[in-house]
Symmetry: C2
């Protein structure tokens, strides 16, 4: 498939359309689920987009697939590289394997064995480093030099964002007349992709982000009108530790109604509900959006709300309930 | 809708067709999921019918709905009654609520609070009794006398079996050319329903049951050619404690290739795989069929196998891993 015609930093409507066609064979079109008892409890009509049932167990498969499939032949031959201890590592390894591209993943020595095994299972080359961001970046730079591989970042990249946008595009087709859509926000790839999809295809729908109070840089950034970082991070939602990226913020700022902040207790309660009432395994990050709907009932009362369950890769031996 | 025309004890093809049409508005048409890594591990091509995502979290909703919807007007006015501490109680309460029939449920005082709350949430009338089968049956008889309500048993009933058969009917439509279908077996409602659906619609498909070694009466019954009970029951699969029913056995005996026995360790390992790889919350009973496929690879190698994940109502505070 051809490279996106989009050349500006913000993916346009055509870039999203192309991303969707490009990755169709690499991803699952995930189901949307509903639950009468959660509707009754929340006072809203909730539609859950189950990206926990996506390949590698997270929406990250969409962006990684699009980024790898956007490579030209020369770049494909050199391969791709990233650093991650989480879902992006698995997604890039899987997307590269699906498309016959070699992947080099820098992982901290502290990464859980199950994640290391998953990345290795996709045939990726793993390089371990000390568990600091400085060591990760240095190791990544060395790998780029020795291999010539292209760095695929987890969120601050138009091809990655266009890929994540396909999740909201599907949801808008699966459920008519959504009043609101809400996604968790960490680095902002998922939320910015959703904001673009809604902007292009359902501009009457309001988009919200949901963020843990222990890593609330995106909410502070949106309210201040400029990027703010986290001095320190303290939340069970380990997928949302990253600071909001520059390009995601540029996209989110004029398109997102608000970013709602919830505490870890709210997140754990929502996670338990999703396990118990919907029989879905989700990671804490994925429960953040439902937690925000429960905490801010006044916003969502009586509305049709699309909720993205972003991923399901949780350590089952350490469930918080 | 009209009463089934089927008058014999074994539901015929038309009874299954009518059951499917009758309950369509009461149940979810559940999705079928696949998982590449489980296919690779098992050496078979596995199609998981997700009855854990069914209303009330279990296939039991199908049989209970059909039984309630088969009542004539006089019986509807008198209501329904059953005794159960498990999924049948929730299913009958929910099916009765959906159709405007009053439900009386006898539950042992030892029933988990979460199950009592679920039954009460559907508006059913609960009568508690001592946690013995004698007390349950005596309390049930008293309720039948005072209310005139009709007893809906959990599996030994043609309307219930015809309802459970709709699960396999859907699966056969969702996945072409299944070589085998396998379901857990306790009282036998699900397995006998699957056996009928396959007999009528896909007679080349072989049907298997899966049973825990600590409650293996169905396997012993099939091998002996006559009903055998369990002297005592010892398994984590609490949904499979019941002895095989008479009508289910009559149906299963000529139609099921084998009943495969697995240990609790096999069940727990399969349950963990389904949580971790497929992001699905399932109860131990539901993992029994996958455990049997792993344990008996020689039977299923290279085949297309439909696996019914029968339910997801597990106590999350007591996961065995």
């Amino acid at each position: 498939m051809s490279r996106s015609v989009n050349r500006g930093p913000i993916p346009d409507r055509e870039a999203l359309r192309q991303a969707r066609a490009r990755i169709a064979d690499c991803i699952h079109a995930t189901p949307v689920m509903t639950c009468t008892s959660l509707d009754q409890q929340s006072g809203a009509r909730l539609f859950f987009k189950c990206e926990n049932l996506q390949k590698v167990g997270a929406f990250k498969m969409r962006g990684a697939s699009n980024a790898v499939l956007c490579l030209d032949d020369a770049a494909r031959r050199r391969g791709v590289v990233t650093h991650s201890s989480g879902n992006h590592a698995q997604a890039l390894a899987c997307a590269a394997a699906c498309t016959g591209v070699s992947a080099h993943i820098v992982m901290p020595e502290s990464a859980p064995a199950v994640k290391v095994a998953a990345v290795r299972g996709y045939g990726a080359d793993i390089t371990f480093c000390a568990p600091t961001m400085a060591a990760r970046e240095k190791t990544l730079d060395q790998l780029r030099e020795t291999t010539g591989a292209l760095f695929i970042p987890p969120y601050d990249n138009p091809d990655v964002i266009a890929g994540q946008a396909t999740c909201a595009m599907e949801l808008l087709e699966q459920v008519a007349d959504l009043d609101c859509m809400i996604t968790p926000v960490g680095g902002g790839g998922l939320l910015s992709g959703a904001a673009l999809a809604v902007d292009y295809h359902a501009s009457h729908t309001r988009v919200f982000g949901a963020e843990p109070s222990g890593a609330d840089d995106a909410a502070r950034s949106l309210h201040a009108g400029k990027l703010r970082g986290n001095a320190e991070v303290q939340t069970i939602a380990d997928g949302l530790h990253a600071d909001l990226g520059k390009l995601p913020f540029q996209i989110i700022k004029p398109r997102v109604s608000d970013i709602l902040v919830v505490d870890d207790g709210d997140i754990i309660a929502a996670m338990h509900l999703l396990f118990e009432r919907m029989e879905l395994v989700i990671e804490p990050s994925a429960a953040t959006a439902l937690a925000a709907v429960y905490k801010h009932r006044e916003i969502f009362a009586g509305l049709r709300v699309g909720i993205v369950l972003s991923g399901g890769n949780v350590d089952l031996s350490e469930l918080p309930f």
